[in-house]
Every structure is written in C-alpha cells, then in structure tokens.
C-alpha cells in the first residue's frame, strides 16, 4: 500500500495494521524519516515538499511492487507527506513485514533508497539565509545503485 498525504501518520498504528490478525509474519521493520532542525549549518525554519501528483503514486507503487517481487515479504507500506513541515515532524514512513528479519530489513532499505532517487518529490527549505531547493545527494544515488541487479 502507498499513500501520499498532507496529514501526519501514526507509525505504531500502521505497524500494527500490517500484522494484526496474522500469524505468518515474524518480522516487521519500519523506517520513519524526520525533518532535521539544521541544514547546511543553518537553523531550518520549515521545509515544503512539492511533488508530481499522479506520477508520485505511480512511482511509489512501482517501487513497492519491485520490493514485493524481490523479497519474500508478506506486506509493505509507504506513506509520504507533502506540503509544509516543521523541524521534528515526520516526513516518510516505510514498513515491511516478512516471515524472517533479513528480508524485512533489506526490503525496507531498498524502498527508502529507491524512493529517495526515483519518487518525484522536491524539498524546499526556508533557512536563516533564505529559501533553498535541496540538492540531490550523490550518496543517495550510490545507495540506490547497490540494489541494481548484475
């Protein structure tokens, strides 16, 4: 399941929803991404997430489908917020459920690495020195490249 929304999400409720009433799941891994209060050595006032409605959902679904195909997962969830966010607020949630922990861990990392490099979101920061578009990081490209099949 994937969701793009302005509203906050509840990680505990989403984790529980994924495994409640099932006894085939042995491992649930979650990732919560948060707005950090500092950027480029400056205090961050707020961050606004722009996205490409339509393509965002398609890309997230594609990424999730790929994870479900590559790992023995029971289920997966991606929730990503858009709009204005303050330091300390939640941005993104990824949850993976699997019979065993290795698949759940790997798939969650894969989902984050792919989401970071493929899902059409752009972060715009309001900092002490003014407004700045966040630049893509080479380390994110390298992280995503780890999963490319030989």
């Amino acid at each position: 399941m994937i969701r793009v929304q302005k509203e906050d999400f509840d990680p505990g409720a989403e984790i529980a929803k994924l495994h409640r009433g099932r006894s085939d799941i042995g491992a649930v891994v979650s990732f919560v991404g948060l707005v950090r209060g500092e950027s480029h050595g400056e205090k961050l006032t707020s961050m606004t997430l722009e996205h490409f409605p339509g393509m965002t959902e398609r890309e997230l679904e594609r990424i999730e489908r790929e994870a479900l195909a590559r790992w023995a997962l029971d289920d997966a969830l991606i929730v990503h917020r858009v709009g204005e966010l303050k330091p300390g607020e939640r941005i993104v949630l990824v949850v993976t459920a699997a019979p065993y922990r290795r698949a759940a861990f790997e798939a969650a990392e894969f989902l984050m690495d792919y989401l970071k490099t493929r899902a059409p979101f752009w972060k715009h920061e309001l900092r002490a020195s003014g407004e700045h578009w966040v630049e893509a990081r080479d380390s994110d490209d390298a992280a995503a490249a780890r999963w490319r099949k030989e």
Binding site: G33, L49, E50, H51, F52, G54, M55, R58, E59, H80, I91, V92, M112, L115, K116, T117, R118, A119, P120, F121, W122, K123, H124, W133, V134, E135, A136, D140
Partner: protein, 83 residues
C-alpha cells in the same frame, strides 16, 4: 503536447504547466528542450545546465534521447529529493 515543470525548473520557467504546439523537429526530449531553450527568458535559464534537469514522459522517467509525440505529457524537474 502538455508540458509540466516542477521545483526550481517551474520557478525559472515561471509557470507549472502549459500546452504547446512544438515544431515538427521536436521528436525527442532533447530536441524539445532545444526548442524550449530557443524561446529565451525563463526557458533559457531553466534549461541552461542540462546536467541538472530530469525528464518524464507520460509519468515515466526517461533519458533525453526518448521520443516525444503530440499528445504526450512531458515533465521537467531537478533530481528528486524526497524521503
């Protein structure tokens, strides 16, 4: 052809979307960009450094060598920074 712009590409172009009648020689993303650059102003600025611009055709990531045709939706944006 429908064009969409996001993030600083949108800011430089000065609009988020527009419908254009691209000339016949704009058969790929690259040649479409060449035509957009020729319109000058915000377009020239937005497409000044193509290493910093990505494209999607009909909501699929593509290289600049990808074909475009009338009726396509072509989007331009910086490398993504979500998550």
């Amino acid at each position: 052809m429908k064009l969409l712009y996001f993030a600083w590409v949108r800011q430089k172009v000065g609009r988020g979307e527009e419908t254009v009648d691209a000339p016949g020689e704009a058969t790929t993303v690259a040649s479409l960009v060449k035509w957009l650059q020729s319109r000058g102003g915000g377009y020239a600025d937005a497409f000044a450094d193509l290493k910093r611009v990505r494209a999607a055709v009909n909501q699929e990531h593509v290289d600049f060598s990808a074909p475009v045709r009338a009726g396509d939706e072509v989007a331009f944006f910086p490398p993504v920074t979500g998550g």
